[in-house]
Amino acid sequence: MEKYEIVIVGGGPAGLAAAVSAKEEGAERILILERDETLGGILNQCIHNGFGLHTFKEELTGPEYAQRFIDRTEELQIEYRLNTMVMDISRDKVVTAMNREKGMFQIEAQAVILAMGCRERPRGALNIPGYRPAGIYSAGTAQRLVNMEGFLPGREIVILGSGDIGLIMARRMTLEGANVRLVAELMPYSGGLKRNIVQCLDDFGIPLKLSHTVTRIHGKERVEGVTVSKVDAAGEPVAGTEEYYPCDTLLLSVGLIPENELSRGMEIHLSPVTSGPVVDDRLSTDVEGVFACGNVLHVHDLVDYVSEEAYLAGKHAARYVSEIGNSKQAGRGRKISVSGQDGVRYTVPSQIYPETMEETLTVRFRVGNIYKDRYLSVYLDGERILHRRRPVMAPGEMEQIILRREDILKRHDLKSVMVKIEEV
């Protein structure tokens, strides 16, 4: 059986950054397994700009951003296999994968980094009544058809859901000659970035209807129109508010789900909120030596944060490997839970080991509603150590706070770290 120190599942932004970081940290034998025919993952179809403002202090397109990491991967001579599907990972980190050249093969890994990304929620999950014609696409599928194949999936478009891909596709379809009639959003707020609403909808005069949803799909063979209704506070359609929009295409941008089939196969503990693995401050899952980063861990808004997170996972995976058989590895000390409440839906990580954690730790999370002019607070047990006024927080934008090791170490009997939103 082949042996590698670190096997990275996925060659998208998370997998690439994790690989680069692990190599820089001293890991020698690293292998990236990528199911697609190129490295770069979903960035390859994200041909719009706006990537890399944090990481590179300049505005790049998705493929350009990916290329920087691909170049670095090549420079560092990190091995990768394309068109290779990971079929299974055992709890003792034997990775079973398949491609055309090698057939099914197995690799014994000392550490595994999960970086499989996420997928889009399909129509079926929404139970929208009506026929099942051609012309209903998830926004990402349409993005692939337009940006990679050069084909327009439709000309008269209604978009359900205001996630970032939906917003980006509203602009793209308009630029490519289609007419985007409407973006309908079930929630009273958008699920996407503010800047995307401005740049992709407002600048093109595309209407966004909040608290609206598609309640019927018309057309038997090809979409002929959709009925859009207002919804009440419980998200239920309000009778009498139906409006008919003739269109040939319905794009769905109704949420992303981390792709954790492999993690589930390994019986890794998953969070019911994020659908990603529960991890500690080293981004280690509850299976020793298995780390997770990027959208397979929790869905990010900006790729820059994916890269940052993946760097951390790569570094800790490399250190884990270097410490195997070393006495230093014994025990990480006491464990403290990190969690969110009062509007903070979850935190990543959700466990920390103060004695062995780094000097500072970035804790990322999303909020469950639009909050205007509130405080973001961090409590160590009952004691508030951070109280920062925020003009606005929204579900579409990821939030973060920094925990300092010294603050935590000071409190010997600390049980938990709590992040919450408080009234002014």
């Binding site: 079926g124 999950a125 990679m148």
Partner: protein, 493 residues
């Protein structure tokens, strides 16, 4: 052979079967045991596009139908033949057992009556279980369930694969299939019937009317004794495989006037399926789902099974059962149109009965035409090879020989390019996304074709030598692509 273009001269056949659903395909296969010139006319792009594609996929044990009816007879015979047929046609079939649950002590009598009826119909192994016994088999039965009728011979089958396999087998044994060929008119002529279609005229000595919800339309073209087929819509929800083991047998409620009620069952591929509703309609094309129907499923299924995880629904769909006024199958020659054999009103248990329906109709034809046996008839068909069922060693041998089996196209269902190529290249091969989906399951998983559809489209375009924008979801006007980037909306692509 696939039909192309317009024909001026009538094509002459011994037998024309209208409809390539499961009844038509089963009839075609049984008929292919004989030397006969026969063809199946299908208005859609593929087999299995109507009632046969959207149902529960259940092979009923046979206790429901009233003793003495055709339904009772053909269900039990069909069920009995299904094991051997599935083996011969290389399709998955599982006798998972079925249970009819009763939630009120005072309705035990009805359950016993059902059991009694089943015994009269010849259903083996029926028994009434106490709550304790039932719960042992099915821990997720609703708390109110007090008794259950258990039928060990109840089974599940993939409705697409059964229909497709029957058609492929019939085709390789010499029966023609003409797709996109809608029958517009039928006239009695001296030698039999003249059939006018959108693709030219046909003549045949015998017509088998297996047209599902449209069977009445064709029957009424040749007979004064008018028939009405009512489309009865059934809506379903299909769940992620993650929750496919919530129940292991098929769980029914005590039946009423409109049928067997909402059931919960594992599918033969490991999903959980819940439905159907029952709603009589006039529109024969109304296989759309409704808010009311989907809500009713949620409401009703809880009465027999608890803990249904509705968040795990991956798709919902609706089918139309073809219900005759007689509440029984109509498998007979029209009284005033000799040679016109109705195979109509094939509502539930139509899928279960299909092997027997095929035999019954073929026998009726044989009695009239006195056909010779087909010396080259082959009763077996090899299904699409699923590498997932192979050992690693076998799989690697396969990939070395055919590397396309080393590429996964559909992640959710782990379908390789090799399987998709097989589905396209085999007899009556797939031409559309739905055709590939029904043959290989590519696109049938939890992402519902989000990732694989562009790749499947590429394969279809390459294999059929058409451009990508010609690829459809299910034929007709269901094209996936409507233009090219920055086109000006004028003229064709």
């Amino acid at each position: 052979m696939r039909s192309t273009g317009q024909r001026k001269i009538s094509m002459k056949y011994d037998v024309i079967i209208i409809g390539a659903g499961v009844s038509g395909a089963a009839t075609a296969r049984e008929l292919s045991r004989y030397r006969v010139r026969a063809c199946v006319l299908e208005k859609e792009e593929d087999v299995c596009c109507g009632t046969s594609k959207a149902n529960s996929g259940i092979v009923h044990a046979g206790y429901d139908a009233k003793p003495g009816t055709l339904m009772a007879k053909l269900n039990v015979v069909g069920n009995w033949h299904m094991s051997e047929l599935a083996r011969k046609l290389d399709i998955p079939f599982k006798r998972n057992g079925s249970m009819v649950v009763c939630t009120k002590k005072e309705r035990l009598g009805e359950l016993e009556e059902l059991c009694d009826r089943g015994q009269k119909n010849g259903v083996p192994g029926l028994g009434i279980l106490s709550r304790g016994e039932a719960i042992k088999r099915e821990p997720n039965l609703a708390d109110k369930v007090v008794y259950a009728l258990y039928a060990p011979t109840g089974g599940i089958v993939c409705p697409f694969e059964l229909n497709i396999a029957l058609a492929e087998n019939a085709y390789t044994n010499g029966i023609e299939f003409h797709f996109n060929t809608e029958v517009l008119d039928i006239k009695k002529i001296e030698s039999g019937f003249q059939v006018r279609t959108g693709k030219g005229d046909y003549e045949a000595k015998i017509i088998v009317n297996a047209a599902g919800v449209y069977a009445d339309v064709f029957h009424n073209m040749v007979s004064k004794d008018k028939m009405t087929i009512t489309p009865r819509r059934g809506e379903y929800m299909l769940f992620d495989k993650k929750v496919g083991s919530l129940v292991s047998s098929t769980i029914f409620r005590l039946p009423d006037e409109m049928g067997k009620g909402v059931l919960a069952t594992p599918t033969v591929h490991g999903n959980l399926l819940v439905g159907p509703t029952a709603e009589n309609l006039e529109d024969k094309e109304a296989n759309d789902t409704t808010a009311e129907g989907l809500a009713a499923i949620k409401n009703q299924v809880g009465k027999s099974v608890k803990n249904i995880p509705f968040r795990q629904v991956i798709t919902s769909f609706a089918g139309l059962r073809a219900c005759a006024q007689t509440k029984d199958f109509i498998i007979e020659e029209a009284a005033d149109a000799e040679g016109f054999i109705d195979c109509a009103g094939i509502a539930s248990p139509g899928l279960s009965s299909s092997p027997a329906i095929g035999m019954e109709v073929a026998e009726m034809i044989q009695e009239k035409l006195h056909l010779q046996p087909n010396p080259t008839f082959c009763s077996t068909r090899k299904g699409i090879l699923h590498p997932a069922n192979l050992t690693i060693k076998e799989r690697n041998a396969l990939i070395r020989e055919k590397p396309e089996y080393g590429t996964i196209v559909c992640r959710c269902e782990s379908v390789t390019e090799g399987e998709i190529l097989d589905a396209v290249r085999r007899p009556l091969g797939a031409r559309t996304l739905d055709g590939v989906k029904r043959r290989t399951r590519a696109g049938m998983g939890r992402c519902q074709a989000g990732f694989c559809s562009p790749k499947v489209m590429e394969i279809l375009a390459r294999e059929w030598r058409v451009s990508l924008d010609q690829i459809t979801k299910c034929g007709g006007s269901s094209r996936i692509i409507q233009g090219v980037n920055k086109d000006t909306w004028q003229g064709d692509v």
